[in-house]
């Protein structure tokens, strides 16, 4: 690249015009030089960046080149602005380069001056004579050699590195992350739908226990992350919240009382239906059965026989219930002493931490609340027993032929009291039914989150991955790709009927050593899962683990085992 040397001594050309022409040439050369330097610097940086991506196995992202272009433009502009020369600097450069002894800068100043004398005129002529002999292209050398080579080579190398393919590991990782996000979105949507479904199907009393706003807030916190660990953390956290909430609704003491009552009531044919309902934990049915025991006959001398029969039936019920309450009270006092010992042992632990303390307080509240419910029911049983006793006394007086109006009034009042007690008991049972239902819903939600964690960990398929809803089997119509009735999933994969793999193997098990009962096995599995997930957490101190372990063992101890323990104790006493 050669530039035509200016002709500053052209006819009429002043020193300033010559310097200006030289300035343009110099600044163009400086621009090219700045571009070359910037290409070298940015090219080197781009090479390093592209090489690092290539070595890492990821393709070079286009943003690297976009940034490089911006940096190139910026660096070139900055360099050029920093080194470009104005008239004075170019004059000085010419003086220095061609040994004109400050002649050019002096001439430029003299040409700008208003009053000049003979010496100034002579000086400008002298300078013009010298300027005509110089070659302005020699003022700044164009980039060449190493600079030019590096300015071309480094950007080219950086661009060539952009063609380096991605490694298989990176492709797999990217696909895995995309799958994780897709799975997370699917799981989050499924969890949200499931929760909404559970909340929508809950009645008003259940909703009080569920606290739908809090549950929805937990669902809203879920975010579709590409990190499996983050997803597991979110699901585990939400599962822990729901499990804690479900645990707070647990009422083992009340359940024990009801189980005791069921056992007592089942032995009598009059109350066998009620006992059966209680043993099946169908509290709604039990409440209805309890309503059947209300005294319906009028309090009159004509209806005394019918009244007596109702009262006899009710007295039997009250007696059995009172017996159950007494047994439960006796067992509760032993359990409370054990729990107190356990609490005292936990209190001696030095490093339980805030979380453990909070958990203990929450569990303590739940225990207090369920104890209140059990106490309330026991109190209602005692009231019923008292009312029945009064009614029996009143009815006994009437049976001796001395039935006065006051006796009838007393009989009527005691009958109302007995009915009121029955009503309160049935209300308690209904509330317990709602609490249990809410607890079941929360447990289902927690279980769904547990399965979601398993799905994220790759241990099982997504719980929301296709298939029919519970209770809906496949049909030829659906298998043929027709639209589903519920409108969810407009297309189903078509397959050949009877052509898929079938489950033909049957797992063998030792007979006679299994534990029957669907709910019991589910509870055991849930307990085991909660137990293991908590016990295996590395951030929980060993003392807290021991305390929780003991607590979980206590609250999940079956009545049979307690009885066994009692018999052992009795035996030992004997």
């Amino acid at each position: 690249m050669t530039e035509q040397a200016p002709k500053p001594n052209n006819a009429g050309a002043s020193v300033r015009e010559a310097v200006d022409a030289a300035r343009r040439i110099v600044n163009r050369r400086l621009l090219v030089r700045s571009l070359a330097i910037a290409c070298t610097a940015v090219g080197a940086a781009a090479c390093v960046a592209a090489a690092s991506f290539a070595i890492a196995g990821t393709g070079v992202p286009l943003i690297v080149y976009a940034v490089a272009v911006v940096l190139l433009a910026g660096t070139t502009a900055a360099l050029w602005l920093a080194c470009r020369r104005d008239e004075t600097r170019v004059a000085a450069t010419i003086d220095d380069k061609f040994a004109l002894r400050d002649g050019v800068r002096t001439a430029v100043a003299f040409e700008s001056a208003s009053d000049v004398g003979g010496y100034e005129t002579l000086q400008t002529h002298w300078t013009r004579d010298r300027l005509c002999e110089i070659d302005a292209s020699k003022l700044v050398a164009p980039p060449r050699g190493r600079l030019l080579a590096s300015a071309i080579a480094l950007p080219v190398i950086a661009m060539l590195l952009g063609f380096a393919p991605e490694s298989e590991a990176v492709k797999r990782e990217r696909a895995q992350r995309a799958d994780t996000i897709a799975l997370a979105e699917e799981l989050n949507k499924g969890i949200k739908d499931m929760v909404e479904e559970e909340l929508a199907s809950a009645d008003e009393e259940e909703a009080e226990h569920l606290d739908p706003d809090e549950v929805r807030e937990l669902v809203d916190k879920l975010e579709a992350s590409s990190e499996e660990a983050e997803l597991l953390r979110q699901y585990a956290e939400m599962e822990q919240e729901l499990a804690s909430k479900a645990a707070s609704l647990d009422a083992a003491s009340l359940e024990g009382l009801l189980a005791e009552a069921a056992a007592q009531l089942s032995s009598s044919p009059e109350s066998a239906d009620l006992g059966e309902a209680l043993s099946q934990q169908n509290l709604e049915q039990a409440a209805r059965e309890l309503d059947e025991f209300k005294l319906k006959a009028e309090v009159s001398e004509e209806a005394l026989d019918r009244k007596r029969a109702e009262l006899k039936k009710l007295a039997s019920l009250a007696k059995r219930l009172a017996e159950a309450a007494r047994k439960h009270d006796a067992r509760g006092s032993r359990a409370s002493s054990t729990s107190t010992n356990s609490d005292s042992r936990q209190a001696t632990s030095s490093a339980n931490g805030d979380q453990a303390r909070d958990g203990r307080v929450s569990e303590g509240d739940a225990v207090d609340r369920e104890m209140d419910e059990a106490e309330r029911l026991a109190q209602q049983i005692r009231e019923l027993e008292e009312a029945v006793r009064e009614a029996e006394e009143s009815l006994g007086k009437c049976s001796n032929g001395q039935c006065t109006s006051s006796d009838l009034d007393r009989l009527a009042r005691s009958s109302r009291n007995a009915n009121d007690s029955l009503q309160r008991m049935s209300d308690s049972l209904r509330r317990s039914s709602a609490r249990r239902s809410a607890q079941s819903r929360l447990s289902r939600m927690a279980s769904m989150l547990s399965r979601s964690q398993s799905a994220v960990a790759g241990q099982r398929q997504s719980p929301f991955a296709g298939g029919q809803q519970a209770g809906q089997g496949s049909s030829d119509r659906q298998r043929d790709g027709q639209e589903r009735e519920d409108g969810q999933g407009t297309e189903l994969a078509a397959g050949a009927k009877s052509s898929g793999p079938s489950q033909t193997s049957i797992e063998e098990a030792d007979s006679g050593d299994g534990v029957s009962g669907l709910r019991g096995s589910a509870t055991t599995a849930d307990f085991a899962r909660q137990f293991e997930s908590f016990i295996e957490r590395p951030d929980v101190p060993a003392e807290v683990k021991d305390g929780v372990k003991l607590y979980l063992e206590n609250i999940h101890r079956s009545p049979e085992s307690d009885e066994g323990d009692d018999s052992k104790e009795d035996g030992s006493d004997a």
Binding site: R101, D102, F110, D115, G117, W126
Partner: protein, 332 residues
């Protein structure tokens, strides 16, 4: 200071005349003085700028011969004073004496040897400071005041003083005020072997070269006028001011050695001397403007006697010329 009425032709004629006169005097002096062209040129530059020169050198180097040759080449009145410790100021500037004329006695001013055009103050540092100070007014104001009467000296007037840098017994170093009045302080070098042979050839014969007049005192005054008309661009002028400014140790930008070894920097007279001398140098170089190279070339002669070294500088034997070169390098 630009003379706008001066035409380029007249300016060119002045410049050519300056160079011609300068070359004529230099060539004439150099017929006798061997091997000291730079000293000769600087002395002539100082005379062209109406400045005084302090010549420093060991005895026998031709300092006195140089001055007498210069006086002969320029054809001006020449006076010589051998400075001794018992020399009195009145012995230099003159005194009032009682004169009887026409039977009447009165005091008349008897002019001293200073009333001349070219005064050679030989071994000036042998006189007492009192006597040295008698030259202060003479050199700066070019006048003499005795008994309340001021008498102007003839023009041109130059003081060319010599001193021996080796002998210190019975000498009185020139005070700073006196030194500052010398435009240049020149060091007269010893001749090389070849130059010494040439000296012997020229002076050992029956008829040593005779120096004849090639210029007059008026020519020197005219040369002084021409020098003052040479223009200088502002940025170049700033080079002088920065140069002088950096001789001061307390100035920002002063080199480290200046900060360490210099006690006092140069005075404004140094800048004036550098400006005048660089103008002269530009004309001699065939240019009509002053360059920074011109300034740098006269900096050492103008500044070496004006930079007062500190005790540490004196103890270390620092050469002021080295400091001047360091300052020049820092300004490039």
């Amino acid at each position: 200071m630009t003379d706008a009425t001066l035409t380029p032709e007249a300016a060119q004629a002045d410049a050519e005349k300056f160079v011609e006169r300068f070359a004529a005097i230099r060539d004439e002096v150099c017929r006798l003085i061997v091997g000291q062209p730079e000293v000769v040129e600087h002395v002539l530059m100082a005379m062209a700028c109406q400045g005084h020169v302090l010549l420093e050198g060991v005895p026998g180097l031709g300092k006195t011969t140089l001055v007498t040759s210069m006086a002969k080449a320029v054809r001006v009145d020449y006076g010589r004073v051998q400075f001794t410790p018992d020399l009195l100021p009145a012995d230099i500037v003159g005194s009032m004496i009682l004169v009887e004329r026409d039977g009447e006695k009165r005091l008349e001013f008897q002019r001293g040897p200073v009333f001349t055009n070219l005064l050679l103050a030989d071994e000036i540092n042998r006189a007492t400071p009192k006597t040295q100070s008698a030259l202060l007014e003479t050199m700066q104001e070019r006048s003499v005041t005795v008994a309340g009467t001021t008498t102007q000296l003839d023009r041109p007037f130059f003081v060319l003083a010599t001193q021996n840098p080796i002998e210190s017994d019975g000498t009185y170093p020139l005070p700073e005020a006196q030194l500052d009045r010398f435009m240049f302080k020149l060091r007269v070098p010893s001749p090389t072997e070849e130059q010494l042979a040439t000296i012997l050839d020229r002076t050992g014969g029956l008829a040593p070269p005779e120096i004849g007049p090639v210029a007059t005192g008026d020519d020197l005054i005219e040369m002084s006028r021409i020098v003052r008309q040479v223009p200088i661009e502002d940025s170049v002028k700033r080079h002088i001011t920065r140069f002088v400014h950096r001789t001061h140790p307390e100035t920002d930008g002063a080199p480290a050695n200046v900060r360490r070894f210099v006690r006092h920097g140069a005075s404004p007279r140094a800048a004036q001397a550098m400006l005048a001398a660089s103008r002269c140098r530009a004309l001699l170089d065939g240019r009509y403007h002053v360059s920074r190279d011109d300034i740098d070339s006269v900096a050492a002669a103008s500044l070496r006697h004006r930079m007062i070294l500190s005790f540490e500088g004196e103890a270390e034997g620092i050469d002021p010329d080295a400091l001047v070169h360091e300052i020049a390098g820092s300004l490039r």
